[in-house]
Each structure stands twice: as structure tokens, then as C-alpha cells.
């Protein structure tokens, strides 16, 4: 599996917070995504009802997942495709390699696929002497930089155009070094020209799938560039990498989900290219792949089924949650240390990596709830993050000091008389200590707070003690 650094979340985050280039890049992108979604939602009166239906479709499918998987497999086979079942990331790698070897592939073109990141497909291919070419512009850019995607649909959102220019100059060394390359259109043109050649050079094309359709044995990809299409139409072999929960029953169900997907992701009503692929080319088709393979990946999904995290399997990978998340917008995607960032990553990663490995992620949330508010399939993300915290607590994985502090506080909170006695005194002491300025710049045990903020001093006697002593507000006039 793709190596994770989620254990180092705090250090990763600190590093990213200090990255001013990242800050500029994120500030630029944020309003674009949030404004886009808001506008798209406002322009479709049925949007909320469609979200409900999308949620219900996913729930229904998940609750009958084995049936739909088998039905899907049958249809794929009927149209001349082949379904492979991969329990783990390693199984997926082995299957991809086997298929590539069977056609003596020297190069593989990749449409964007988060599953391929999860399974570290590119590294495996390179290690076996097969060139893996990312064709999505953002993925191509980060591939040049040796980076991983920082967002599930906008992989290069953390970069500025200056950084892109720098990478192109460093890697496209066959081009005139004096060429003008500052502005996005020239950068795009250069990438387009270079990738054009590569489209015709690969024996295998790998795409992900936003949706798999049981009714027809189809896979659906959603792109804006057309790279996923060129990657599957030109090579001899098309491999689809998809996790189990991507499946929906019918093309109509797919239509409903597609209506909320692009709107939630970028604010577009529909992506430039939404492609339904069904098997290998037909007899008489002038183009298209000769072989069609679908690799169904489990890698922890079947364990999430039937658990308190089952709702997470509804995720359609739109990215709205991270676009609206103030934590993601502060630290960027790389801080999360693995394939899936933002709120969806905070719920999914512990499920796939284990809560001891990825436990930081569901903790690094203020539970503001914006993610749940915008999730097209209404996943209760904060609640699921809380469930991870509960698991950590029960397994005694939370840091010792925090547990002790919490335990102490809970001891008092459950004993009102004792609590009022203790706090009554404590607040008066603190109020007296802070009386000159009304606040503390530093205070023992409050370092986490006072590192960046003043701590307002208490007013003095607690409300409860004042009320008990008979203090009451003066009457005035309302209404």
C-alpha cells in the first residue's frame, strides 16, 4: 500500500502552515470551489431532493452489495470484458502487472485514479520497467515533481503557476530554454503537445471509475480534459480500477449521482466528458480497446460494511468536503499524509490503515460541520470522526495527558456540588490574578491556548454562586 505519514500529521501540518506558497495557492482556489458549488445548487431547484435520492441509491446498493457485484460481473463477462477481484492493494498490483505483461506493455497511460494511488500502481510499474504516464494535467505536473496529489479531484491545487513553469522547464529539456512559459495557456499548450505523443505510445490505459453500473456492466468516468478517454480508446488494453462500493444498480441511478457529483465538486452542471464504457470494442468498431478488464478492489471496504462506518461507503469522491473544510484549507492535502485528505480522508483512512496509524486525522477537526452540510450523499462526517475518537478512547490510544485531564474534568462534572466548590474558588483566584489586564498572556497548563492567544480572565464569582447568593438582573423592558 502507498506509504502513509499520517502519524506525523502534527509535524506535517506545522510544515505546511509555514508554507506561504501553499497558502497563496489555497486562498486562490477556495472561493472558486465553494462559490461554484453554491451557485450550482442555487440554479437547480431539485438539488436537495437529488441529494436525498443519491444517498438512498448508495444505501440501497451497499445493503445489497454482494448481489450487485455479482450482477455486475455477469454483465461485464457477457459483453466480453473480464472482472478481477483484488482483496488487497498488493493483489491489485499483481493483477495489473500480469495484464501488462500479457501484452508486453512498455508504457501505461493513466487517467486519474485515486485507487491507483491507494495501491501505489505507478511505483510498481516503474519498478518493473514499465513507464507510467499520468495524463491528467494536474497529475502529470505532480508526477514531474515527484509529489503525490493533494486533493482528490484537483491534484495540483497546492501549486502556483510559477511552480508549474519551474517543473516544465526542468523536465521538458528538449524545448527552447528561452521560450516564454509564464502564463497558464502556454503551460497548458506545452503539456498538451507533450502528452499527445504519449497517448499513441502506450499499450495499456488505466482509468478509475466514478461509477460501475450493474445493469449493463459499464464503468463511468467523469473528466474535463478528455485524458481518460484518450487513455482508454487508443491503447489495446483498458484496465478499470474501482473499489467495491462504486457500484450502482442502473443507468438511471448513475444519472442521479452524476447530477450531484459535478455540481458538488467544481460547480459545473456536468463535466466536459462523462463517459460510459462497456466492455472491449465491438466487432466493426474502428477504434477502442481490444481488452477490457475491471479490477474490483476490497482493501478494507467489506470490513467497513456492517460497521458504524458504513455510511462512508456512500462517498462518490467529489471533494466538496475538503473544499469547504477550514482545516484542509489551512494545511492543504499533503499534511494528511496519505491518499485521501480532508474530511473524507479523515474518516476513510483510519478504516483502511487502522486507527492507530491514522488516528490523528479524525481528531484534527473542530466539528464545524461544513463537510456534512455539503456532502452530496449526506455522509455524517463529524459523527463518523467522533466514532473514531471513541474507538481510540476505548483502546486507550489517545495521548495520556489528555486522558488524565479529561478524566479529572469528568470527575468534577459528574459531581455538581464538588464542581461548584472547586470552580467557585478557582475562578475567584484566577480573576484576582488576572485583574490588572483582564487576561493572561501565559498561564500554567494553558500553553496550548496561550501559545497564540490571550486567555480572558474569569469575571470572579461564578454565575452559580452569584445566583445562590440572590443576585438577580434588573428588570427592563422587552417587547
Amino acid at each position: 500500500m502507498n506509504v502513509s505519514t499520517t502519524r506525523n500529521f502534527k509535524a506535517n501540518a506545522a510544515e505546511q502552515l509555514a508554507n506561504e506558497t501553499l497558502r497563496g495557492a489555497l486562498t486562490k482556489s477556495k472561493g472558486h470551489f465553494t462559490g461554484g458549488r453554491a451557485t450550482a445548487a442555487a440554479n437547480l431547484p431539485e438539488f436537495e431532493a437529488l441529494r436525498d435520492q443519491a444517498r438512498d441509491i448508495k444505501n440501497h446498493t451497499i445493503e445489497n452489495l454482494d448481489f450487485y457485484l455479482e450482477a455486475y460481473e455477469e454483465k461485464v463477462t457477457d459483453v466480453g470484458g473480464q472482472v478481477h477481484w483484488a482483496r488487497t492493494a498488493e493483489d491489485a498490483r499483481n493483477i495489473v502487472l500480469e495484464i501488462c505483461r500479457s501484452v508486453d506493455a512498455k508504457a501505461v497511460n493513466k487517467g486519474k485514479s485515486m485507487i491507483s494511488e491507494e495501491c501505489a500502481i505507478n511505483d510498481m510499474l516503474e519498478a518493473n520497467g514499465i513507464r507510467a504516464v499520468e495524463t491528467d494535467l494536474g497529475e502529470y505536473i505532480i508526477q514531474l515533481r515527484g509529489e503525490t496529489p493533494s486533493h482528490i479531484i484537483a491534484p495540483a491545487v497546492h501549486l502556483t503557476k510559477g511552480q508549474v513553469e519551474e517543473s516544465f522547464r526542468a523536465n521538458h529539456t528538449h524545448l527552447d530554454p528561452d521560450r516564454v512559459l509564464e502564463e497558464p495557456p502556454t503551460l497548458l499548450n506545452e503539456a498538451r503537445t507533450i502528452l499527445r505523443e504519449k497517448y499513441f505510445q502506450a499499450e495499456v490505459g488505466i482509468t478509475g471509475a466514478n461509477l460501475l453500473v450493474a445493469e449493463t456492466g459499464s464503468s463511468i468516468i467523469v473528466t474535463n480534459e478528455g485524458n481518460g478517454d484518450l487513455s482508454q480508446l487508443i491503447p489495446k488494453v483498458h484496465i478499470v480500477l474501482a473499489s467495491l462500493e462504486k457500484i450502482v444498480p442502473t443507468l438511471e441511478d448513475a444519472s442521479t449521482i452524476l447530477r450531484v457529483l459535478a455540481r458538488s465538486a467544481t460547480g459545473q452542471e456536468f463535466s466536459s466528458y462523462t463517459t460510459v464504457s462497456t466492455g472491449p470494442k465491438r466487432e466493426g468498431d474502428p477504434d477502442g480497446p481490444e481488452q477490457y478488464h475491471v479490477i474490483l478492489l476490497d482493501n478494507g471496504r467489506s470490513d467497513m460494511l456492517g460497521s458504524e462506518f458504513q455510511d462512508m461507503l456512500r462517498c462518490i469522491r467529489c471533494g466538496a468536503c475538503m473544499n469547504h473544510c477550514p482545516v484542509y484549507q489551512s494545511v492543504g492535502g499533503h499534511a494528511y499524509g496519505w491518499v485521501y485528505p480532508g474530511p473524507m480522508g479523515s474518516v476513510l483512512s483510519p478504516g483502511l490503515l487502522g486507527v492507530d496509524e491514522a488516528g490523528h486525522l479524525p481528531n484534527a477537526s473542530s466539528f464545524c460541520g461544513r463537510c456534512e452540510e455539503v456532502c452530496p450523499v449526506r455522509i455524517p462526517l463529524p459523527k463518523l470522526m467522533r466514532h473514531w475518537r471513541e474507538q481510540e478512547f476505548e483502546k486507550h490510544l489517545s495521548p495520556g495527558a489528555a486522558r488524565v485531564g479529561l478524566g479529572l474534568w469528568a470527575f468534577f462534572a459528574k459531581r455538581p456540588k464538588l464542581y461548584q466548590l472547586a470552580t467557585g474558588l478557582e475562578m475567584r483566584v484566577l480573576a484576582w490574578l488576572g485583574r490588572k489586564r483582564g487576561r493572561f498572556t501565559s498561564l500554567p497548563l494553558a500553553g496550548g491556548w496561550t501559545k497564540y492567544r490571550e486567555l480572558p480572565a474569569p469575571q470572579g464569582r461564578t454565575f452559580q454562586s452569584r445566583w445562590k447568593l440572590g443576585e438577580r438582573p434588573q428588570a427592563g423592558g422587552a417587547q
Binding site: A364, G369, P416, R453, E454, Q459, R466
Partner: protein, 259 residues
């Protein structure tokens, strides 16, 4: 007309400990509206710190304590969206496995309210008799906004305050970075969030910042003071109750000069 009797104040731990004036302002607002307000003694905290830390056992113990102390009243009102939200939305969740307690939690939930929305939505208050001379801006605390739908209500009542001029805060509905224990567990991230919030507050040019949750207010006030920004921070109840002439949050007890 709605009942105007038997209101129990859930004062909230931060109001109780740090700023009792907010509690008195809440009581005043409700008494002026004709309510009888009592303060059950057996209250400490709503249990959010335990709940959000994954400590279900203590959450349940505290929830039961609150339910037992408050269920006898007609209404339970808290000057905090997050505490009201905890009681209203999360107590039933926490007690879902215990049918008897679940029923009691749901009964309590139905009559628990955040303060400002209680005034407007239940007591049907259109305007409060208060004056406040100056510009204010308003931060929408996350729980109140997203769990309880509190948005128009404070603005409506502030609109009726004589002399008060409200300037909308850009990104008013973006989290201030408090998040309970989040702000001390992940101080660097919290700091970025509250810094962004501070920039927006200062950009409004408002002299006063208001919100409905002490946690948010202390967080934002603490940052504004640390950075030397000239903004005074109060709980919205203080202004609505006409009790906004003492020291603002984080200010010492001297006769304060009115803005």
C-alpha cells in the same frame, strides 16, 4: 400564545465560570419577556468535552444528570448554540441504546433551545428594548448555525437595537478555530483559522464583535487581544439585554470608555 413560564436556564460551563454577566443577561431577556426563570443547581456542563473526545461513558453520565435536573421544566434555554445543540441533537444519539433514557432525552430535546432563537421563535419577540451605539459584526458559531439553524434570529433582534449598526462579516459562517479541545490539541491549525477570522473581523471596521457562544468568543477575543486589534468582544445576549456597558471579554474591571 406560547407558554411563558417554567424556564430553566442551562447556564453553560464557560458562562458560569468565565462570564456570569451573560447568564444574567439571558435571565433578564427572558424575564422581561414574561418568563419565570429558574437555575437548577445540579448543572455543571453539557458533556461536550467528553463526547467529542470519544468518552461515551462520561458523556452518558453527564447527560443523565442534565436530563434529570432539567426535564421537569417547560423549557430549557442555554446562551450557547453548541450546548443547546449537544442537549437537543446529541443526547438522544448518546442514549440511543437505552430506550427509557432515550425517551427522556427526546422529551428534553423537544423543549431545549438556544437563547436568541428561543426569544424569536418561541416567545415571538420582535424587538428588544436596548440601545448600543456603534458598529458591530456577528460571527455565526458552527453548532448554532448548522445544528440549530440559527442565523436570521440574532440579526433580526440586533436590527432593532437603537443606534446599533451591523456590518456583515465575510465568511461569517466559517469556523473560528475553537472546536472545544481542538484548539489546544491542534493549536497551530486553530491559530491559522482564528487568524483568518481575525483578518475578516478587522476588515469590517466594526468596533464590536458579537456571537452566541462563549467558546468562540473567548477564542476570537484572545486572538484579537494578542494581536493588538482594536475590537471589543461580547456575547450577543449582553447587547440585547442592554447590559453591554461593563468590561468586554478579556478586559480588566475598570470603568470602560464607551466606543
Amino acid at each position: 400564545m406560547s407558554q411563558r413560564s417554567g424556564v430553566a436556564l442551562f447556564v453553560t460551563c464557560l458562562v458560569d465560570l468565565f462570564r456570569p454577566n451573560v447568564g444574567f443577561a439571558a435571565v433578564k431577556l427572558m424575564q422581561d419577556a414574561g418568563c419565570t426563570v429558574e437555575v437548577p443547581e445540579a448543572q455543571t456542563c453539557c458533556g461536550q468535552p467528553a463526547y467529542n473526545s470519544g468518552d461515551r461513558k462520561d458523556t452518558i453520565a453527564i447527560a443523565k444528570q442534565v436530563i434529570a435536573a432539567f426535564e421537569g421544566y417547560d423549557h430549557v434555554v442555554a446562551p450557547s448554540g453548541s450546548c443547546a445543540g449537544m442537549i437537543k441533537k446529541h443526547y438522544p444519539e448518546a442514549l440511543a441504546d437505552d430506550p427509557a433514557w432515550l425517551a427522556r432525552a427526546e422529551a428534553l430535546s423537544a423543549k431545549t433551545h438556544e437563547l436568541v432563537s428561543f426569544l424569536t421563535d418561541v416567545l415571538k419577540i420582535e424587538k428588544v428594548e436596548a440601545a448600543y451605539d456603534g458598529t458591530v459584526t456577528y460571527h455565526d458559531s458552527c453548532s448554532g448555525l448548522r445544528e440549530l439553524g440559527i442565523h436570521g434570529q440574532p440579526r433580526k433582534l440586533l436590527d432593532g437595537v437603537d443606534g446599533l449598526h451591523l456590518r456583515e462579516l465575510n465568511d461569517a459562517n466559517v469556523c473560528c478555530g475553537f472546536g472545544g479541545t481542538f484548539c489546544v490539541k491542534y493549536p497551530d491549525i486553530s491559530n491559522r483559522m482564528v487568524s483568518n477570522k481575525m483578518d475578516e473581523i478587522v476588515a469590517t471596521g466594526a468596533e464590536t464583535l458579537l456571537a452566541g457562544d462563549m467558546g468562540c468568543l473567548m477564542n476570537m477575543a484572545g486572538k484579537l487581544h494578542r494581536e493588538g486589534a482594536n475590537v471589543r468582544v461580547r456575547h450577543v445576549a449582553e447587547v440585547l439585554a442592554g447590559m453591554a456597558d461593563g468590561p468586554a471579554i478579556g478586559e480588566p474591571k475598570v470603568a470602560s470608555v464607551k466606543p
